[in-house]
């Protein structure tokens, strides 16, 4: 009993001690918050030469903007970046919360935005983002499909950052067991892919492809490869009578039924299927390579090529896009000239920057002049000596653009439902009609 009392007393004492120091620091927190708020422009900029940035991946975009900051500092010694690591979902939540409650002054100077969310955010919160059309940034030096993501009503709101060009990556050692090489999977159609996939499955027991079920990434990539979209040019949902989409859905269902593509339930299993060697390949945005490369024991066994194209759709290509992001400058930025100049001098004007970040992060540029740099043509050991970066930049240049639309996420979720139902035996026409109705409903029609 005595002992118990002592424990409780000790615990209380410890708790009080922590709370006292806590109170102490909370007071200083208060002051730092005030000055932090100052940085973000609440009470006039404390430091004219510091830009705050929200972005999220230390190995990728954070490293990239840090490098850009260092380069910019060479000519502007007073320049400073304050990077606040914020996961994308949190960037979106904070942005929505701040903009909806009318507190734009809590936004940073620059934030990184997923390309797929750009239209939605600019149209929902037109006051939050700076129009960069006349900022001196030359947008013609980027691939136009990429610039289109962050262009609203002909105005540019984003400086393109990373590339989402789609690649097909294969385990050549597995293909070899089935008697194939990477060439057999280059410039092919989906029906050829299916046919060869059946052979691979028969000879090795492995599927050609895994993808996350209950998601429509693969379908969206197939669709864009033919320059088609979930929406028409007026932003109206275009699903029920979309011939390209119909072919996508039936191709997808066929792949699953044949066992050539296996749906897994989540991202961990998806990555696992590649690193464990339980799949012969993958199709995704080129950023997937960073995950593939974590399986160090598979070095030299992977090669990449372009993706299959749809069989019967006019304008079908072997190139597509998935993911990628762009920098946006907020209207809360107190030193807009500085932010624009920083972007113009680095991400929109420095081949040196892209040369430096490519080996460190694998961040592929959308800035066309940088693609000619010798760094890009360097052969990569992991990919059996292929010059993968040159290949991917080439894919990016050939990718057809599409209309993301404002209601992109709604459409993707609705299509995911349709696909799940079609794979389970539902009627494709009816399911696509349902998907279109769902999106129309969300749009308030």
């Amino acid at each position: 009993m005595m002992k118990k009392k002592r424990i409780v007393a000790m615990l209380t004492a410890a708790a009080i001690a922590v709370s006292l120091t806590g109170c102490g620091t909370s007071a200083s927190d208060g002051t730092s918050a005030a000055s932090g708020g100052g940085n973000q422009g609440e009470s006039g900029t404390a430091d004219e030469n510091t830009l705050t940035v929200w972005c999220w991946d230390p190995a990728f975009n954070i490293r990239a903007i840090e490098t850009a900051g260092k380069l910019y500092q060479k000519d502007h010694p007073d320049f400073n970046l304050q990077i606040i690591e914020t996961p994308w979902e949190d960037v979106q939540t904070k942005l929505t919360t701040a903009a909806t409650s009318g507190n734009l002054d809590t936004l940073p100077d620059i934030l990184l935005m997923q390309d797929n969310a750009f239209q939605k955010n600019v149209i929902s919160y037109p006051d939050a983002f700076l129009d960069l059309s006349s900022s001196g940034i030359d947008f013609s030096e980027f691939s136009q499909a990429k610039v289109a993501y962050s262009t609203v009503d002909g105005k540019n709101y984003g400086v393109p950052f990373d590339n989402g060009a789609v690649i097909a990556a294969y385990r050549t050692d597995i293909l070899e067991m089935a008697g194939y090489t990477i060439e057999d999977f280059t410039d092919i159609t989906w029906s050829e892919y299916l046919e060869k996939g059946r052979v691979v499955l028969e000879k090795t027991g492995l599927p050609l492809l895994t993808c996350k079920g209950n998601e429509s990434d693969v379908a969206a990539m197939m669709l864009q490869s033919a320059g088609a979209s979930f929406f028409d040019e007026n932003g109206e949902p275009d699903m029920a009578d979309n011939e390209a989409l119909k072919e996508v859905v039936s191709t997808y269902a066929e792949l699953v039924k044949a066992g050539v593509m296996v749906e897994v339930n989540d991202w961990d299993q998806y990555i696992g299927s590649m690193t464990n060697g339980s799949v012969a390949g993958t199709i995704n945005g080129c950023w997937i390579m960073a995950s593939i490369q974590t399986a160090e024991d598979q070095a030299g066994k992977w090669e990449i090529t372009n993706i299959p194209r749809l069989d019967n759709v006019p304008g079908a290509t072997n190139y597509s896009n998935n993911g990628g992001s762009s920098w946006a400058i907020t209207t809360n930025c107190k030193n807009k000239e500085l932010a624009q100049d920083f972007m113009a001098e680095t991400f929109a004007g420095s081949t040196e920057l892209y040369e430096e970040i490519l080996p460190a992060t694998g961040a592929l540029t959308c800035y066309l002049p940088a693609a000619d740099s010798p760094v890009y043509s360097e052969p990569q050991k992991f990919y059996n000596g292929q010059s993968v970066f040159t290949l991917i930049t080439d894919y990016a240049a050939q990718t057809p653009g599409n209309h993301t639309g404002v209601y992109y996420y709604e459409a993707k979720d609705a299509i995911a439902v349709a696909i799940t139902n079609v794979v389970a035996g539902g009627d494709p026409d009816r399911e696509l009609k349902n998907a279109e109705d769902t999106v129309n409903f969300v749009m308030g029609k």
Partner: protein, 297 residues
């Protein structure tokens, strides 16, 4: 006469003291919850995109009953509520009374072990549940070995089994949490009551139903209301275990509301209206529970 008057003032004074006791808490709840709730209520009568909203009357409230996804999520929440909450509360009660035995060894270890799931981080618990129920996961391997299944079954890929996985996950995660309340409630029951019952020849089952359950009634009511509330606002499992899939078979109302607010083109008017439906449902259920269970004897 005089004495009675004095007693009245004493009662009055006690009543006032009572108000004094609860003022700080009530003021905080009014400011931190009711004021924002009031603004959300106003918002629920508006429609529009982002921060450009205009008055729309009952539009949002009518709209949700035409929204197939929302109705699906509503049904899902009730499936979880009806199946999971009773199982979980009974299990928690049983565990608590087992662990309340005087002569049980290693009590502390058992208690901590059973409490652990709700302290375990969502990230790791989601990863492990998903991998346990994967096509080539542990559960399937066992079922195939035992010849119950021929090949692995995609539990999370089918509507019925995905809901069962969610229910199992919820039971796993929250049973120990509820057990804590029962354990602490049991301390207010004299152990001698059980010993007397034992001498009178009561079986453990009888003393559980005749002593434990009635005496824990206030705590049971508390946990029932909390679990009802928690289940109707369920979010984590839907997002992290199944992401609402397959084909919205497991999506919950809160998950859909979150999507409406932060994933899709923000529609806060509609999100607020759906939130108020949740309020209405939980309040109605809590009211019934309190009518049934909240009596001072």
């Amino acid at each position: 006469m005089n004495g009675k008057g004095k007693r009245m003032t004493l009662e009055k004074r006690h009543s006032l003291t009572g108000w004094g006791f609860l003022t700080p808490a009530v003021v905080l709840i009014v400011v931190m919850n009711f004021i924002p709730m009031l603004r959300a209520l106003l918002l629920s009568f508006q429609a529009g995109v982002g921060n450009r909203m205009s008055f729309a009357g009952l539009y949002n409230y009518i709209r949700m009953f035409q929204d197939a996804v929302f109705l699906r999520s509503l049904a899902n929440n009730f499936i979880y509520l009806l199946i999971q909450v009773p199982i979980m509360l009974v299990l928690a009660l049983v565990l608590a009374s087992l662990l309340n035995h005087k002569d049980l060894r290693l009590k502390g270890v058992f208690r901590t072990a059973i409490f652990l799931p709700c302290a375990t981080s969502l990230v790791s618990y989601a990863i492990i549940f998903r991998s346990l129920f994967a096509v080539d996961g542990f559960i399937n391997t066992v079922l195939v070995r035992l010849h119950i299944l021929d090949t692995g079954y995609n539990f999370l890929g089918h509507a019925f089994s995905a809901r069962i996985v969610i229910i199992l996950a919820l039971i796993w995660r929250w049973t120990g949490y509820n057990m804590v309340f029962y354990l602490s409630g049991l301390q207010n029951i004299e152990y001698s009551v059980y010993e007397a019952a034992k001498i009178d020849g009561a079986t453990p089952f009888q003393s559980f139903w005749k002593i434990t359950v009635p005496l824990l009634k206030p705590t049971i009511l508390l946990t029932a209301i909390m679990s009802t509330n928690g289940t109707l606002q369920l979010f984590d499992e839907s997002v992290n275990l199944t992401n609402g899939g397959p084909a919205n078979a497991t999506i919950t109302m809160s998950h859909y509301i979150y999507n409406m607010s932060f994933k899709y083109v923000p529609n806060f008017g509609y999100a607020a209206a759906m939130s108020y439906l949740i309020l209405f449902l939980v309040a109605a259920l809590a009211f019934i529970q309190m009518k049934v269970g909240d009596k001072r004897d």
